[in-house]
Symmetry: C3
Subunit: 334 residues, 3 copies
């Protein structure tokens, strides 16, 4: 683990991830309620949150630390991030001041900053988050950036461990419908996680929703190192046959990135990509349904699946707390 940052699961080898998860297990069995006594975590949410907001605060508290939350636009003014701009608009403060100042008040900072959703190359390069990270000289946690969500990926890996899904299992990352184009952060992070864990990974998505080549290439490199594989297809039948895990996720069209009208036109005919019980007809017995939440019921995934025995979504969410405690312990334990 980089000494002081948790920004991307791809910064870690499979063995390093397993070490971090071993620490998470140890903290569950042997709590350390004073490990981070006196330590302060700043949490900056440029976008809404439920799991991350609650679990980061709860995780710090369970380790004896404290956190504060800053939500630009709600109780705090909007932040400007463009360089060189003449700030005569709505944003009252630039990240070049705001973020270093917040970092100077705490021992570690977490930042959530979703994709802008306009420029695919910029979002895939995570240029916005990287610009923020460059301003901060404290331990830093990525709470979801344009193209990454390492806390989610780590929780998902632990969930696969908890469910005793072997590395050689078939993991299908399946696009599912949503009223709007959502960011690529979770699909990219889940893909990389599954590749690094050694799975036979199939990205199943309609035409127009292919994951960006750079994202695929990174996952392929991880798969080569772990003995897994990665491929992409629009053929639901072949993808789902024999699947051990279906990881449902919504994302926007990459062919029409930033073009809401074209994206909407494309997804209009794709409602039947919703995951239903019938989705699992040819899957392996006991195939699990994963989803990072929040999930739109009966749009992305049907009630019958979310409320049935396949669903491990609540365990994934609970594991956010469990693995983040390990991350915080690693970053902040004196």
């Amino acid at each position: 683990m980089s000494p002081a940052r948790f920004l991307d699961l791809a910064d870690f080898s499979g063995d390093e991830v397993r070490e971090l998860l071993a620490l998470a297990d140890r903290l569950q069995r042997h709590p350390e309620p004073q490990a981070l006594a006196g330590r302060i975590l700043g949490l900056v949410f440029l976008n809404p949150s439920l799991r991350t907001l609650a679990s980061m605060q709860a995780g710090m508290a369970r380790l004896g630390g404290t956190s504060f939350v800053i939500t630009p636009g709600q109780g705090t003014w909007a932040l400007e991030s463009r360089l060189g701009v003449r700030m005569d608009g709505a944003a009252a403060e630039h990240i070049r001041e705001g973020l270093p100042v917040l970092a100077s008040y705490c021992d570690a900072l977490g930042i959530r900053a979703f994709a802008e959703g306009k420029d695919l190359a910029a979002d895939v390069a995570d240029s916005g988050f990287r610009a923020m990270a460059a301003l901060i000289d404290k331990p830093l946690v990525n709470l979801e950036s344009a193209i990454n969500h390492p806390c989610q990926a780590l929780a998902d890996w632990k969930t696969l461990d908890d469910e005793r899904v072997p590395a050689r299992a078939k993991f299908v990352l399946s696009w599912v419908p949503h009223p709007r184009a959502l960011p690529l952060a979770v699909p990219a992070a889940a893909l990389h996680m599954a590749a690094l864990r050694g799975h036979e990974v199939v990205v199943l998505r309609p035409e127009g929703f292919a994951l960006p080549p750079a994202v695929m290439a990174r996952a392929e490199a991880a798969a080569r190192a772990s003995g897994g594989s990665v491929r992409e297809t629009a053929d639901r039948q072949s993808a789902l046959a024999g699947a051990h895990v279906v990881y449902a996720k919504e994302w926007g069209s990459t062919a029409h990135y930033g073009d809401a009208a074209a994206d909407a036109a494309l997804r209009a005919g794709l409602g039947d990509w919703q995951v239903r019980e019938s989705t699992f007809a040819s899957a392996a017995p006991g195939c699990r349904l994963m989803h990072c939440l929040p999930v739109r019921r009966n749009v992305a995934v049907a009630d019958e699946v979310l409320d049935g025995p396949r669903s491990v979504v609540l365990r994934e969410a609970h594991n956010r707390l469990v693995v983040q405690m390990a991350v915080l312990h690693r970053l902040l334990k004196p």
Copy 2:
């Protein structure tokens, strides 16, 4: 006390309430600043709050515990609660995921969820809050639901104790004006509290604002057990004669529940139900004015009363902290 829930004062006998208040007194005299060390309270506010938001956090902190706050619609997306719905609207997450996830991050959860104010039977049955409570396998505190506000009722009981108001005193729950139809939670909770404490309870309200029969019936049962009585009237003169306590409260028309226009028409002529000093002309000497706050000055209650010696509204509010510490201690002390 039910092992792990504080949802309704009606779940307790009078003696059980007195035990809880004795614990509150003990914690005031002998603070236990480490009693809840390491314990985490999650607070979910589906509606605004001042007293509850501040006093629950302060109470946890005074007992050594920690809390986090989730406010759907502010920093967190809106939550859907309808079953079976196709979630293609504004709400991004269903309570069936959101609430169990939050519960999994903490040791106890508090939830505030006001009445919808459309279907009287559903609100009186507290069906929305009950559906939420059924999803949560942790200690749970009702921070005000459609038809209940047990923390307020407990604080009000303590206030009557503090003011040495005897059980046999006359307690008048008096409807007062407000620009809009407010929920029935506090009047229902105050009525039950006063009945359980043994008072001669008079619900004084204009025609069209009768409390629901189910609410009255529960209070009558409590009064029978305690030796008190409950009746309802629109006659201010008889109601206020000899009153020892006037508990002022705003609520919406039950005859036109959910019909804002009809409610507004009804309340248009009722401005003189405002509590003024003259309201107490025939009351017992030293008659107190209670109100749960927030109160609209010079609409519901006149300045002269709120700023005079009868008002115990600040004590009621302070007692929220005092009694909630007992509730948290009971629910969470290992």
Copy 3:
């Protein structure tokens, strides 16, 4: 220091300020992570905040205490402050109830309440904040009122100490452009701080932006006591010649206070009051640029200055945490 309030740097002599800063230094060198264990700070933000919101919470936590945040209008209803008003509008609660209640839940309260910006005399008298302060019987911290910002002033003094700026240095409080009329709180507080520290203080502002006579008079009295001086001018050349510190700050026209159109007309031609590197052409070598933040880049101050070696704005912001810990320690240490 008044036993239990931190409302105005003008309540302190220069020696008392130096004592407080010595405590801040001591807490930096010898942290006291349990000094405020069990103590609770309530923070009421009637206006947005970044530094204050984060640093007050972080400061309490670093001293072992806890804080809670109340933001009327966000999760809490709006508060009414006018006396005698009939509350049939948007505000659901009056400060006469809201503030004493919050005070009763905590050991100290901090309040931020910006100027209304309509009535100059009322704002200069800080009548709104004073009315709130009169309702509170607990230690109280001014987190920025209509005409004051003592935490900022104290942090700025410390920054001058850190930068080894001698008392006899020339301190130029320079008006800078902003899209809107901003309050007088920071210029008034910075002016007073610099006068009390003994500087040769020059208030440099365009015609129409003179600081109120009462503010100037108070600063002049402080300057007389400290051996400094205070004067006001619209002549940039003479003001900036030999300056050791330029403290840039935006504020609204006092000649057209509360008249947005007249204010806008006046500031339309003043864009070149922006602080650029050329602003320092005749300044003393090593002249510093101070600003309380948030700063609108390339409107108030150019990138070249903020990103260059003169800027001490991040140190000022960090010192907010440092000095506030001393304030909290003084107010709350048992």
